[in-house]
């Protein structure tokens, strides 16, 4: 355990001295600001500007491109550190000072922690910017048969506007908590993609492949879910990577989708177990 903590500390030390960590933070904030700018110019959902809506629409891709680059930004923070260790041979120096088990556990823990911290900080800073820029209040809304709905001139007042579809009622009862929950889910998704990058690092030391691989899975997986869903006539698209990483806020017909954080948590645990097992069992990692 002590060895794992030391590997973790050294990874934090290293990550804070890497420019890609700063770049990832700038990408998060930059693309979120792009989403806020886009929101400010449109009257999407309502003509009343709201910091909550601005932030949520920037996250879910309705008014921004953030959701398109999420895995790229996430993997820059530390997802490629194992690949760098292997590529340079630095891993040999590390493994004479720590066991394989401590090394890989420390890597997984640090990538999880650092990615989570940087992405969540970037998102919360973006919300802070949104709350300075726009009124920190929900747009006008009313109740229809016990369900809250945003008042929209384009929708008859007796009809429920099914937005957001993710934890619908929470937005209206506790909007700030809602922002935190959504930010947490997006952060979980970023952590998952960084862990995928680390898994890829066990098979290749090509840094560009390690950084781009998760994004290719992200886009390719979404395409596959869309096509398969159409073929078998099931709403598989609701579980496509892009949807689960941000577009879930307004996607789908049900208005709960509370399973999404659990899907990401399960995915992270599974990826970490596969990474740990492959690293500790494969004898040729260093060959």
């Amino acid at each position: 355990m002590a060895n794992t903590v030391r590997v973790f500390s050294s990874e934090v030390f290293r990550s804070l001295r890497r420019w890609p960590t700063a770049l990832a933070f700038l990408l998060v904030v930059g693309f979120m600001i792009q989403g806020l700018i886009s929101y400010s110019r449109s009257g999407f959902l309502t003509s009343h500007h709201s910091a909550y809506l601005a932030y949520l629409l920037a996250i879910d891709g309705s008014s921004g491109y953030w959701v398109g680059i999420l895995p790229l930004a996430a993997c820059l923070i530390g997802g490629d550190s194992l690949a760098w260790d292997r590529k340079t041979g630095f891993i040999r120096f590390m493994l004479t000072r720590s066991s394989r088990r401590a090394y890989i556990l420390g890597k997984i823990a640090s990538v999880t922690f650092l990615t989570g911290t940087v992405v969540l900080s970037g998102l919360l800073l973006s919300f802070l910017i949104a709350s300075i820029w726009f009124p920190l209040a929900l747009p006008p809304w009313h109740m229809v048969s016990g369900t809250a709905t945003i008042t929209n001139p384009a929708v008859p007042p007796t009809q429920i506007l099914p937005w957001p579809t993710f934890l619908h009622n929470l937005l209206f009862s506790h909007p700030f908590v809602y922002v935190l929950v959504v930010s947490g889910v997006v952060t979980l998704s970023a952590i998952a993609w960084a862990n995928v990058a680390m898994l890829i690092s066990l098979w290749t030391t090509k840094i560009y492949l390690v950084l781009a691989g998760p994004w290719l899975v992200y886009v390719g997986g979404t395409f596959l879910f869309c096509v398969l869903g159409l073929i078998i006539n099931l709403p598989l698209v609701n579980y496509a990577p892009v949807v689960l990483s941000g577009a879930f806020i307004g996607h789908g017909k049900e208005m709960t989708r509370a399973e999404i954080p659990f899907i990401w948590t399960g995915f992270i645990i599974l990826t970490a177990i596969v990474t740990y097992t492959a690293f500790t069992r494969r004898k040729d990692i260093l060959d």
Partner: protein, 223 residues
């Protein structure tokens, strides 16, 4: 990696009947090696003879297919955990993180054992003629500077066992003399040193024993 509780201080390194293949190629065909503390053993062999592989086995970076290795009193085998506490290693051209300075590379490694301070790290760099205040990233270092940094990395935690794979590669002649003096000093302090090389001349001035690795078998160089 290293099985605890099987300590034997009689030899710094004890390898018995070590066999190792890489893919279909049988590289080491029954290596027997014993190294005492305070002894310098040089292993001579042509490129591709398995010298580097042998050092990797001795420090637990790879595992033997057959045979047994005890390094610093610990049996090296895949199933057990733990790290080698007393081994310094320099393998081939040392690989460092290119974007970090030399000092930060060593500080990062020192954090893993937490046995030395930043001042000790800086002292190790000065010992090999590098300036710890040099903030240039390692990618700007020459091959010789990287080799020196690799030597500093290997000795900075004052290990009792030192495994050096062609450590004079890329070193300038004036520093090579200093390096050989450092090895003599370390031997005097009781450090066991295994040094591989394909240059006979440089090892004769320091080595207590010279072994030849040929066709996967280790034998006395003169034998």
């Amino acid at each position: 990696m290293i099985k605890n509780g099987d300590r034997s201080r009689s030899y710094a390194i004890e390898a018995t009947g070590v066999v190792k293949s890489l893919g279909q190629n049988l590289i080491l065909k029954g290596i027997n090696l014993r190294v005492n503390y305070g002894e310098v053993v040089a292993i001579i062999g042509p490129n591709g003879s398995g010298k580097t592989l042998l050092l990797r086995l001795l420090c637990g970076l790879a595992y033997p297919d057959q045979g047994r290795i005890i390094t610093g009193g610990r049996v090296i085998e895949p199933k057990a955990g733990g790290a080698l506490a007393d081994v310094g290693l320099l393998l081939e051209t040392p690989g460092f993180l290119p974007h970090l300075s030399g000092l930060n590379n060593l500080r990062l490694l020192a954090m893993l054992r937490q046995r030395i301070t930043d001042a000790d790290v800086a002292a190790a760099m000065r010992q090999v003629g590098l300036d710890p205040a040099d903030r240039r990233p390692v990618r700007a270092y020459s091959t010789g500077m990287r080799q020196r940094l690799g030597i500093a990395q290997a000795v900075m935690e004052r290990p009792q066992i030192l495994l050096l794979d062609e450590p004079t590669n890329g070193l300038d002649p004036e520093y090579t003399g200093e390096f050989l003096n450092m090895l003599r000093e370390l031997r005097g302090q009781g450090v066991a040193i295994v040094w591989t090389s394909h240059e006979m001349e440089e090892v004769t001035v320091v080595a207590d024993r010279i072994l030849a690795l040929r066709s996967g078998v280790l034998a006395d160089f003169n034998g």
